[in-house]
Chain length 226, copies 2
DNA sequence: CGTAGAATTGAACACTCTCAATTAGCGTGG
DNA sequence: CCACGCTAATTGAGAGTGTTCAATTCTACG
């Protein structure tokens, strides 16, 4: 197991193994409901408005969830990294599309299966609510960023978020390109690049290749993120 | 009762009266749990990060939910109009502040009461999840607007949203000022005003006072909203 | 009616975008 | 292992959309 979070079931209400009815249930049904699937770089996992048949958990790789305007403008709403659950819907359709950013393996569970578990176990229902609420919190924070932060503030916020989510041994290995970052932050790829260069020249961060970043001054970033 | 939606309980799983256990439960507990409260224009209902003790439903008036940056920049995440539920949290604290836009009366229920109802009735739990999912859908749509739409597209989208939510007899009576609209759309109040003037001069809408708007060409607005 | 806040409008500016050219990085194949 | 080639990233210059600051007009209400 590559990361600790991968041992987490898609819906688990307790950390320990086999102590919760929920975990038992998944354990018992594991052969039936949980399977793995892999997608290649840039492959679509599901489209916007597609029926939400499955709920996904990233095992390895990275995923972008996004919406498009008719002329191709794109807004990425979230990046999903190992351990993250995505594609969870309360209704029957996906409201954002999802694509693999790099080669990605996911665990997947039928939505109906979770719904049924939630209908008999209020703890499962509570967990599904909490997961959607967590997505809502992220979206609310991101609305503030998109509506009111400057370019440098957006990039600072992005770096701190990625630092928290994927820094290992002091190094952050970004799976996504500058265009993805721009479409996440409501900027162009050039503006993202310029902001990163500026932070580099200020000594706030260091590069080892364009996507390998070391944060050298998190406090300065926190101050910039407004 | 001024609007039909006001007869809706804060959490109801069925439309009919006294047929659902949930409705019965609220009926039986009504005297204890549901009360009304009024706020004057610009009065705070709760602050960001405050404990989420109550869930609210607008009876009359209008409410803005927002986040602030340290220097005062504001992003309004949603407007709450009669019938709308707001302040519902899966966790224990409010993530946005809420203020009355105009004199407003709300119905309120203790969050703990809803939590307990949800812990024994999976239908209530399902409804709470669906309400949070509805907020998430709105936030996802709004991220696309904030990150990728032009000023005129944002205003067009806003007008169509408000048209859907509060047009009565062909007339839309906006409760909020231009600054509120700007802080909702990620624009300045001047840019909102200019966009409205432009739409007015194009004959897309008519004014009777700055906040009384009649849409004269919804199709053109739909085309503009990208 | 008179007044104060709200809204409109104008002009200049600034931040970000667009378009373009160059450089860097990385996977592939020799 | 190195060279090649392609994509990604950087950097520059100029343009544009939206902001800022300011003045005027409107309009709700007392």
């Amino acid at each position: 197991m590559l990361t600790p979070s991968l041992s987490t079931p898609i819906v688990g209400t307790k950390a320990g193994p086999a102590t919760s009815p929920v975990v038992d249930q998944f354990g018992a049904m594991a052969g039936l409901i949980a399977s793995e699937f892999s997608y290649r770089k840039d492959e679509e996992i599901y489209g916007e408005q597609e029926p939400a048949e499955y709920v996904y958990q990233v095992i390895s790789g990275a995923v972008r969830s996004y919406k498009l305007l008719s002329d191709g403008r794109r807004q990425i709403g979230a990046f999903h990294l190992p351990g993250d659950v995505f594609g969870l819907e309360s209704g029957t359709t996906h409201r954002l599309a999802a694509e693999a950013i790099i080669d990605t393996t996911v665990r997947l569970v039928k939505r109906r299966t979770l719904e049924q578990a939630a209908s008999v176990d209020v703890q499962v229902a509570r967990k599904l609510w909490a997961m959607t609420a967590g997505e809502l919190r992220h979206a609310e924070d991101h609305m503030l960023l998109l509506g009111r932060k400057t370019a440098i503030e957006r990039v600072a916020t992005f770096l701190l978020e990625m630092d928290r989510r994927l820094t290992v041994a002091g190094m952050m290995a970004l799976p996504m390109c500058r265009r993805d970052i721009g479409d996440y932050l409501g900027l162009t790829l050039e503006t993202v690049s310029r902001a990163l260069s500026q932070l580099h020249s200020q000594g706030v961060l260091g590069f080892s290749g364009a996507r390998q970043i070391v944060l050298r001054n998190r406090q300065r970033l926190h101050n910039m993120d407004a």
